[in-house]
Symmetry: none
Subunit: 221 residues, 4 copies
DNA sequence: GATGAATGAGCCTTCATTCAT
DNA sequence: GATGAATGAAGGCTCATTCAT
């Protein structure tokens, strides 16, 4: 093996010309990494270009403006997140408790819950107040998630005789997860994913005691 | 009143000048407002100065660098937050459930939970990854809060016979609140404080059913 | 006639391949239009390419550099102008007053005196100071025009007994026309060609009263 | 003389801080020089700053944007021109022929008719098509000049029995001058001011033979 | 011939910081 | 204390040019 490529032994050097879509995906990935590394405010085109091993001119050739690049990056994050939970839900069992467990686990998969993604989300949240891009881009996806989770909570009541308000329980589950994400970003020594999950299971065990225990979903009787 | 002004006693300061501390507080308040309005990335000294009705030169006279201004602003937010929950706790009844209720309610008081403060917190979280100031400035306060809350949760077990892991329950309470804060920041049409509190009570009613109900703390038997 | 093709009712859409010269002429024409529309400073290769419906790469394939494209555009304008007055002169009667009238009228023909051409000339004049291309390209043509006009003015003296300095009268005629061109470019509500011509006839009537009247050349006695 | 100060042997170096107005005038003067030297398209803030011996930041501190700097430069040129001919007219004798002579001479005074000013005018004309600033800025001044000149030409008819259309004669005078300006800008070896004036006198001698001769205004009888 | 991805020099602009008043 | 002129580094962006296809 004579590969001296600094990108690692298995990574091919990025070809000089790429298909339009591949290039765009590569640039968006570098944008996420740069936001994670330097923060939103210090994410410059030059920094992204350097991370991607490209010239800054090429970034603007593909995205026209920095703002559009950031918007499309947020789009990409949002779509990736939606695809992830939708896939998890599709693969889950038919019972509502299966759906809840699947959604919770999906949010802590390494593809979603990693330093770079969390930092990028956090950065966009931090700017969301002053710029409306977050709402425009993520609003519909967020609303879909909420409706889906609330519907499952409603089925927990219908199928298993619980009596919780589905909107509030759904929201409680979601804010627990988001709060933990924030912990993982902000805390000095963040706990690991198992501990994160255990915290959610603890909450779920309290509201759905016949279907969840502090260590995770109960096996069906 | 002991005058600590290093430039000597000011019996009748002209309206044009202010005490050192008052000026600093005024500038920090304008910084919070500016971050809330324009976001972290677009918070410039000129913008803060304009919001304060001062020249930008004066800001640097008082804070030396922009970085120090932002650090002290974060300090101020963090101290304000700590004072708020400590005061609430001090005013609460002796029972652990009183403490929990007081801490929860404290986090949604208008002095703490308003657009400007939330936006500023969110902005600092969003940039926290790239700058270690958050850890230095807020880490101790955060740790104190966690210890305090965990101790109260431990007393809930000891005094009332619950069997929850205090660390996880404490964390669950905290992340619920933080997640709701995020909701209030990021959601397109955020719900009101009553709904936010109701969500927390719902969670607390699940873990401490004899002391909390979905509509709030239960009256002592 | 419902043809809305901007190239005119009879022009076929530009074929994908064209003869070398036809392509070059097409590109030069688009350059003139672009200069007229956007001004010299904002005339970019991309804009010219877009106006021509071609890729910018092709422009450089044909002209190598932007500078050469602009130089050849100026050449083209200059040659077109010379051809126009030479043709008019060749078609005019033998008397010197016929020549003067022909030259004057030639300068206000629609093929020469239209928005796009005037704007392009004006743009080149505006930049001429900094770039010696104007002299190189248009100097000889301009000198030829001056010599020709002065010779005709000299014949007005010789043939008809006027006593004007041919250089100054020739120059006066020329600067009147150029000044009017400038008016047509710069004035908010420019007058029409008839009014422009009337102004020149008025000047000519003053210097050659037996051969010109304010409304135009006098018919030969 | 060993003074190598580019500002000239007698000019003190510009003081580090200047009154607001003096600084602005200095910068506008440097802008005119830069436009004259490099042309409109290549007039950059850096070049103007260098010509003024200042940092480019200071230019924007005083003028906010490049566009505003150029607009104010045009304003300045236009006002300077108007002041010049108005002063000349005010100093002229009461007869209309005095006014015409004064206006003509004013346009060729060194303060107005020098390389830098002519080049700057020419540059603005060259770009005027694409930017409406010329109309807004110079339109009123131009209209005032035209009205004034036409009124004088009307008085030539009334006082001295000439029968020329005042609008066309006024325009003829003006376009002669502008055409000569263009000559002085564009020609390879431009003639001098005396020759320029002689050309105008020649034209005026033709239309007002009792009051002008090819060498200048006639002395009053 | 023709296209368009890719580069990089240079532009305008922002902004933290310095400093004279 | 307070102001605002002045500086210069760095950012986003434009665009002529190169080059692989």
């Amino acid at each position: 093996m004579t590969d001296t490529n600094p990108h690692g032994p298995c990574a091919a050097p990025p070809p000089r010309t790429m298909s339009r879509d591949a290039r765009r995906r590569q640039i968006i990935e570098s944008t996420i990494l740069t936001i994670a590394e330097r923060g939103y405010a210090r994410t410059t085109l030059t920094a992204v270009a350097k991370a991607a091993g490209l010239s800054h001119g090429l970034l603007l050739f593909h995205f026209e403006t920095k703002e559009k690049l950031l918007s499309e990056t947020l789009d990409s994050l949002s779509d990736e997140y939606r695809s992830n939970w939708q896939a998890a839900l599709a693969a889950a069992g038919p019972a509502p408790e299966d759906g809840i467990a699947a959604l919770v686990r999906a949010d802590f998969l390494p593809a979603i819950c990693n330093q770079a993604r969390l930092a990028a989300w956090c950065a966009f949240w931090g700017e969301s107040q002053s710029r409306p891009i977050y709402q425009t881009r993520c609003g519909p996806n967020d609303a879909l998630y909420n409706r889906t989770l609330e519907a499952i909570c409603a089925r927990m009541n219908a199928d298993h005789g619980y009596g919780h308000d589905p909107v509030r329980i759904g929201r409680m589950i979601r804010v627990m997860i988001e709060g933990i994400w924030l912990d993982l970003m902000v805390a000095e020594k963040p706990y690991d994913v198992d501990e994160a999950l255990a915290t959610v299971w603890t909450g779920l065990a309290a509201v759905y005691p016949r279907h969840f225990a502090p260590h995770g979903p109960r096996a069906p009787a």
